[in-house]
Symmetry: C2
Subunit: 324 residues, 2 copies
């Protein structure tokens, strides 16, 4: 990344901010292992299909990032996200023939596990005697499906799961994924559904020890996380199809910000979510306008991700054919 290579439009994150964010971040553990897994995954899934087409790969990001408030982390700011959308979308991308890199917050919802109770191990199983575990009949189909489909996708090599916790890990791993997906050209898709922190405490200005509570109220100043979307589009994966997400509690702010994100970060699509209705419908914002996508209300178990991924796959196909 070289600051002199790209011009900056006003209001955009500067390369200096981004460099300073990465320079000040704690080093990523297991980065060699992650690179090895990514290389193996791309090798396996980047296969020409003979008719001029090639396998498609999507990076789905899912769950919220944390921002540590102390270096020896006791307290942190967290962004709420169950990871339900990312998990559901991963299932539909796999069904549509994509290979999926699932960059997810540790402990959030996993693909094929959405219908399980909170504590499946204890709610779904019983031990009948020393040697037998039985599944509670109410949960039998869900449990078996979850075990079979999730393990199946991982074992076949179509699904690579990479976990993160902090904002630092998230952006460091996203960069590794993007660089390893460059060679896919327009067959690469980024589906950035993770709830990424807007604010952080720069590592070097962070308290080493636990913040003490004895001296009255706590005043905190948090810096803005540099917007990495511009860098992803321009430098990390300039030929990929890129979709970002906006979540707001106020619909007016939501649509204004989705439109701004489309323009400012040069996204191909922005999926706009309102907090309270996001499981019923989303608004897809792209250059051609706004499209409301809602779940099929005639089916109890239908979700909004099914038509959403269908629309995205169509648009991604057009994008691939339009690319030189």
């Amino acid at each position: 990344m070289d600051a002199t290579n790209s011009s900056l439009s006003s209001g955009e994150t500067s390369y200096a901010d981004i460099k300073s964010f990465f320079d000040s971040a704690p080093p990523l553990k297991d980065s060699a292992e992650i690179k090895r897994k990514l290389e193996e995954f791309m090798q396996k899934n980047h296969v020409p299909l003979g008719n001029g087409e090639a396998n498609r790969v999507v990076c789905v990001t899912s769950g919220g990032t944390t921002v540590p408030l102390e270096q020896r982390c006791v307290r942190y700011i967290d962004n709420f996200s169950s990871g339900h959308r990312g998990a559901a979308s991963t299932e539909y991308f796999l069904k549509a023939g994509y290979a999926v890199v699932f960059l997810h917050r540790r402990g959030t919802c996993q693909p094929y596990c959405r219908s399980l109770p909170d504590d499946p191990l204890l709610e779904c199983f019983e031990v009948t005697d020393e040697s037998n575990i039985t599944v509670n009949p109410i949960h039998a189909i869900t449990v078996k499906g979850a075990i079979r489909d999730n393990r199946g996708a991982v074992i076949r090599g179509n699904l690579l799961k990479l976990p993160f916790t902090t904002i630092f890990e998230y952006l460091q791993i996203l960069q590794l994924i993007a660089l390893s997906m460059r060679s896919l050209g327009s067959h690469a898709l980024f589906y950035l559904a993770a709830a990424v922190s807007d604010f952080y405490v720069p590592w070097e200005s962070m308290e080493v020890h636990k913040i003490q509570s004895s001296s009255g109220p706590l005043d905190m100043r948090l810096a803005q996380v540099p917007k990495m979307l511009s860098v992803l589009r321009k430098d990390w994966a300039p030929t990929a199809f890129c979709i970002s997400f906006k979540l707001e509690t106020d619909i007016k702010i939501l649509l204004a910000k989705a439109g701004m994100a489309l323009e400012k970060y040069n996204m191909h699509m922005v999926v706009a979510n309102e907090l309270l209705t996001r499981k019923e419908e989303v608004i897809v914002v792209d250059k051609s306008g706004n499209i409301r996508v809602h779940r099929d209300k005639t089916r109890v178990d239908a979700d909004v991700e099914e038509p959403l991924i269908k629309l995205i796959v169509d648009r991604h196909s057009s994008y691939i054919s339009s690319e030189p």
Copy 2:
């Protein structure tokens, strides 16, 4: 609770602060259901044993509380805690014959489940055909033990699990538990291992909508959470044996604060944890001085909770016999 009934020593939380905290908190969902469960649990477990002794009941609190930063919560401050200590301690209290109210953060470590992998459903099981689920032999003993012992304790009625997420829920439910345990007199024990937020944003001064990131750095002012330990000891459960916890990253601050907590909140014991060594040893601080408690290093699977709970049960016995 009446402010005029109790005198305040300097530096102590005032009853006005506590009243204002509870008054401003969002109403507790399911409070009728929680009260009903507690009543049933106390009825079942508060049984005279014939020899002048009665069953003992311990309230174990476990995991960290969250502090919402917005009313329609997208962002919150979280206190890190796996809940491992609370889960392990619950097992040893049950083994020692106590009935346990396990007030835990949703999603944290559960009793008898400490040795399971992160995602047990997917790592421990395989589906061999349409009708059979088998347990991976490496995990078989752990998985069967977890299902049997955890379910067993709940079904026998010796273990009541109550989940919380926010600081508001935690303190509201703790109050309900304490009031329902009053009738147990000295047979009640509070083992307050949860990582409780020191700071919070009062509900009425909280942003309703998501905080916007467009306007530079974020400045936040957080108020101190009133220290409820004094009220628990004086008003909610004045005859119970009370143990609180201190976690710090700096050993000097740790011991100073543990001693202060013992005095200021009139605890019977304070368990002092240093972040980095807390799984190897803890320091128990009481009126007679400091006792180092460490795990049995000759056994690989030994934990520090085993000798810790043994010590606590002994001290609780002495406390019960010394009470009129």
